[in-house]
Amino acid sequence: MKVEEKLYTLRWKHDKQSHIAITDQRICLNTCGAAWRRPCTTFCPAAVYTWDGEKIVASFENCVECTSCLLGCPYRNIDWKLPRGGFGIEWQSG
């Protein structure tokens, strides 16, 4: 089963505004691309981060708030904040 299918099992209360921002896309393009091949595109368990050829696109609606990207970006270039109260993932089992 692909991760996209797995995400269909989940429920969120989506905020209009994103709680995720990339601080400096140039780091993703150059530095990280060369040295790390953008690990956020592989370690994120909800496939939030994709590379569109020019920049990292962060699909914040998929975020399951595992907090890995806070530490997993080698350049601390992901500005991840806790979603506003009541928004974000709502686990059914936990």
Binding site: M1, K2, V3, K6, L7, T9, L10, K13, W36, R37, P39, T42, F43, P45, A46, A47, V64, E65, C66, T67, S68, L70, L71, G72, P74, L82, P83, R84, G85, G86, G88, I89, E90, W91, Q92, S93, G94
Partner: protein, 432 residues
């Protein structure tokens, strides 16, 4: 110092935060409990095993009302090679032990129930509210800032229980930021199966449960392990590894879990099950050496926020509940003395030092470093053990002495004898 309307603010309605809030409320303190989820539990994930003793010390006779899934009677350890498994375990007949030693839970219903017990004891629960910062005056924590309008609230004490990768621990000046080798990333699925099928597959009496921790090749060379826990009508099936190794190997968490579920011995247990929920969370893995300072003027830290996880024994929520209770007892004394300074709150550290919480954290303080440096240990030796047992069980006309020679040769072909000795010494030193 001015007296505040609230004695204590607790941030985070998980096992640690609720245990602290409940203890303080029963001790007569005015307590506010903030939770960022719309209700307690909806943001919380763990593998699924909880321990009774530490919960009973907060909530005597919890087993009469707690939403437990299955009481564990069978605990197994698997060492996997690609097409085989070496198994060990311990199983006992169901007994009427109260409190039950270990049981499985699903955190969404469990945490909701636990927080409701705190509310019944007088805790003011404020869900749907994210605490974004602590308020500090003259170096002392005096309250919290929430995401709501006019959302500042002051209290004599703030208990930080906001979980792994705590923002507040940093904001309160108690710790540096964590490193990617200090957390594991774990993914899990809830796989629905009828109770009768679970009881048949795991040879269980009704209501009793089994756990399996799975080491070896299933982690694809990374430091980590998989698990299968039985719930009433589902299995919790998950696997994790250090985040730093996910970054370098580029194995995706979802693929790692798919590989685990496809291992022939795992697949046999899951057959016909229906996937209900896919979950992911970080787990603190840094151990004792990565713990933050646990208290300061007007503040204490409990649970995952304080790195209180004993990985080797898959314990965490019990450390959090014990720490929460001790933080609560410390606060009750602080209130009595009218002194919320670091000096008064240092009693929290003393209680932790005198208990299994810090004693166990200290015992394994060398383990995280070894686990990270030598992921190969959990690949090579399970594989060799599996081959050795298979050799001894294969009746092919070779004498047993010849078989022993073959096994030794296999070992020494892959690793020189002095390195084997060093591995054994390092392993022993990390867990002694």
């Amino acid at each position: 110092m001015r007296e505040e309307e609230f004695d204590a603010i607790v941030v985070g309605a998980g096992p640690g935060g609720v245990a602290a809030a409940l203890t303080m409320a029963r001790g007569g303190l005015n307590v506010v409990l903030f939770e960022r989820g719309e209700r307690p539990g909806v943001k919380n994930v763990m593998g699924g095993v909880m321990y009774g003793r530490m919960l009973a010390e907060v909530l005597p006779e919890f087993w009469k009302s707690a939403p437990m899934e299955r009481v564990i009677v069978d605990e197994r350890l698997w060492l996997t090679a690609p097409e085989s498994v070496v198994t060990m375990g311990h199983k006992h007949v169901p007994h009427a032990l109260e409190p039950p030693n270990a049981f499985t839970v699903l955190r969404v219903p469990f945490d909701a129930w636990f927080a409701a017990q705190a509310e019944a004891a007088g805790v003011l629960l404020i869900p749907g509210t994210t605490v974004e910062d602590v308020i500090r005056e003259n170096g002392r924590v005096v309250g919290v800032r929430t995401g709501r309008q006019d959302g500042d609230l002051r209290a004599n004490l703030v208990v930080i229980a906001d979980g792994v990768n705590s923002f507040l621990v940093g904001r309160a000046g108690l710790s540096r930021s964590l490193q990617p080798n200090e957390v594991a990333l774990v993914v899990k699925e809830i796989i629905a199966l009828p109770a009768a099928a679970i009881e048949e597959r795991f040879a269980l009496d009704a209501g009793t449960g089994a756990t399996i921790e799975v080491y070896g090749t299933v982690t694809q060379g990374m430091s980590g392990y998989g698990f299968i826990y039985t719930n009433r009508e589902s299995l919790s099936v998950g696997i994790g590894a250090l985040l730093s190794q996910f970054m370098t190997t580029r194995i995706t968490p979802s693929d790692l879990l798919e590989g685990f579920k496809a291992h022939p011995m795992v697949a046999a247990l899951l057959r016909g099950g229906e996937m209900r929920e896919y979950l992911a969370h970080a787990i603190p893995e840094g151990g004792f050496r990565a713990m933050p300072r646990l208290f300061d003027d007007g503040v204490m830290v409990v649970g995952d926020a304080a790195m209180m996880v004993n990985n080797l024994h898959r314990e965490g929520s019990n450390l959090a509940m014990a720490a929460g209770r001790m933080a609560g007892e410390t606060a009750i004394q602080a209130k009595r003395a009218g002194d919320w300074s670091a000096r008064a709150l240092s009693r929290y550290q003393e209680l932790l030092e005198a208990s299994f919480v810090l004693q166990d954290m200290r015992k394994y303080e060398r383990l995280p470093e070894l686990v990270e440096r030598r992921p190969d240990l959990l690949q090579l030796y399970p594989q060799l053990l599996s081959e050795a047992i298979e050799e001894m069980l294969t009746v092919d006309g070779a004498s047993k002495r010849e078989k022993q020679r073959r096994i030794l040769r296999r070992l020494l072909d892959r690793r020189r004898w002095w390195l084997v000795l060093r591995d054994a010494y390092e392993g022993w030193r990390a867990i002694r």
